[in-house]
């Protein structure tokens, strides 16, 4: 791999930028691989990269039904944070956040990770106390957390309506200063380029249509480009986890739901942090292009359709204007939906499935993007060593039967309430 640097930029500028090499090859699929990763989003590509780099397993293919990062990797709202209360989630997401902090250098690819802080607003004293409890838990786990007063929030985010007249008055908030945003496409492209350089075959426009089994073992996959044999198969398909599991005759504690997001027209910098409100189901940040990136809650019914209803868009916009009245003159530029694989406790499943050679990385609910580096790291470990990394040892499929759920929200077995 030719490294990207100031020198390569200068060299290519001399030839008018016409001679940059392709960032990755597009090989024809081989008949067999040691490991086949299904899904060429951030998680699948990160898994392939760490399989090659940390475990020396390079006879690997990543199969993507569309184009790289064209699923949830390109549909999320790019927020990175580790502000969790329960220990398994806290340790895992904090490990992932630490990988984010070195990711651009690691991949020789600018993922534009911007630690602009993630602020959770509290609208009642009770909510603020809950945030205080969460912040204390985070600090005990070595994660940064700062409790802010209303006055401090008004200084930090001047456009926020912190007045007494606000429909949902702001009484304080919890800030994770090391949280922030990243450029989602760059994460997929950076991992793809780095994995390709270590020998991983990245095969786009190749949809997996079946999983071959013999006895209790997987032996390969059927694809739209023919059968491919594999000793091990890793599933990283987000919303389609249940569809892939069904190909192997398995059912999961997962439902697929649509989550919408939207952006305003681009404006000059007005918001330099991520602002969220759990109580009114809303979050917003400003992209480097200047668009306000906003999202809210699930539409609330099973869906694979990648689009949702107007009522959620209305809710998000209403919530936005209650918090930021000055945004009322902006036009909405674009809305879209992505399919979340919602587990029954709100936490992911990164584990071996009850079929030899088959592994699942899924159940990401709303949290998949920020987990990308950590998820790839522990999933590669799980596949290579055939046992979980300590950081994903609790994210099992069996935890529901064992009563050891990781329910950060405490909502019970209702996927659309997580």
């Amino acid at each position: 791999m030719r490294g990207y640097s100031i020198f390569s930029l200068a060299r290519n500028a001399l030839s008018g930028h016409r001679n940059w090499p392709a960032a990755w090859r597009s090989p024809e699929p081989q008949p067999a691989y040691d490991v086949v990763i299904v899904g060429g989003g951030g998680h699948g590509l990160a898994t392939a990269y760490y399989l090659a780099k940390e475990h020396g397993i390079t006879n690997v293919a990543v199969l993507e039904k569309g184009w790289l990062g064209g699923g949830n990797t390109g549909r999320n709202t790019t927020i990175v944070r580790s502000n969790y209360y329960l220990e398994p989630n806290a340790h895992f997401y904090e490990f992932s956040l630490k990988l984010w902090e070195g990711l651009s250098a690691e991949l020789n690819y600018n993922v534009m990770f911007s630690q602009r802080g993630v602020l959770n607003l509290a609208h009642t004293p009770g909510e603020l106390e809950a945030y205080q409890r969460r912040g204390n838990a985070m600090r005990l786990n070595g994660i940064d957390a700062v409790l802010l007063s209303r006055e401090a929030i008004a200084r930090a985010v001047p456009l926020l309506d912190c007045s007494d007249a606000a429909r949902y008055p702001i009484v304080g908030g919890l800030l994770q200063p090391r949280g922030g945003t990243a450029r989602h496409d760059a994460v997929a492209w950076g991992y793809a380029r780095a994995a390709d350089a270590r020998g991983v075959d990245i095969i786009q426009n190749c949809e997996v249509t079946g999983i071959q089994r013999e006895g209790g073992y997987v032996t390969g996959v059927e694809t739209t480009r023919g059968p491919i044999a594999a000793k091990k198969i890793g599933i990283c398909v987000a919303g389609h986890s249940g569809v892939l599991a069904a190909m192997a005759g398995l059912r999961l504690p997962i439902e697929s739901h649509v989550l919408q997001a939207m952006v305003s027209e681009p404006v000059k910098p007005v918001l330099d942090t991520v602002v969220t409100s759990g109580a009114i189901h809303f979050y917003v940040s400003q992209s480097d292009k200047g668009e306000l990136v906003m999202g809210g809650d699930l539409d609330g019914f099973n869906s694979y359709a990648q689009r949702g209803g107007l009522r959620i868009i209305e809710h998000v916009v209403e919530a936005c204007l209650m918090l930021f009245p000055s945004f009322s003159r902006l036009r909405l530029l674009r809305t879209w939906g992505g399919i979340m694989d919602m587990t029954m406790d709100g936490s992911p499943i990164i584990a071996k499935l009850p079929l030899e050679g088959l592994y699942l990385n899924g159940g990401w609910c709303y949290g998949g993007f920020k987990a990308t580096p950590g998820s790839g790291w522990v999933f590669a470990h799980t596949i290579a060593r055939e046992q979980p990394h300590p950081l994903n040892a609790d994210f099992t499929l069996e935890r529901f039967a064992e009563g050891s759920m990781i329910d950060d929200k405490g909502a019970g077995a209702v996927p659309w309430a997580q």
């Binding site: 359709a305 209803g309 029954m344 529901f400």
Partner: protein, 106 residues
């Protein structure tokens, strides 16, 4: 049944991105905002006298989660307050059937 006005037509009705339109057998075509979702209608509560832990686990946690026709429960909270069994295609949001749950009212 008359076709809903354009603004009410949802993704299930060949219209734009608006709302689901659920044809309640008692109230007629109503927007999804009148309803509360009740989830997969195919899971059935095991017999407490006989069920083992696995049967309860499967009932509480495990779902078929199909991409395609899905039998599901909706509660007409802002209407007749009856539970309905709706068959909806999860890939297109098209509503294929809508029937009452439980015995017919007199």
């Amino acid at each position: 049944m008359t076709r809903a006005p354009a603004l009410c037509r949802g993704p299930n009705d060949g219209g734009g991105r608006t709302v689901l339109l659920i044809r309640c057998p008692w109230c007629g075509a109503r927007e999804e905002t009148e309803f509360a979702y009740g989830g997969d209608a195919t899971v059935t509560r095991p017999d407490p006298a006989r069920a083992d832990a696995k049967a309860w686990h499967d009932y509480v946690y495990v779902r078929a989660n199909p991409k395609g026709p899905h039998h599901e429960l909706w509660y007409h909270a802002a209407g007749c307050r009856r539970w309905l069994r709706v068959t909806r295609d999860t890939a297109s949001h098209a509503i294929l059937a809508c029937a009452p749950v439980g015995p017919e009212p007199r």
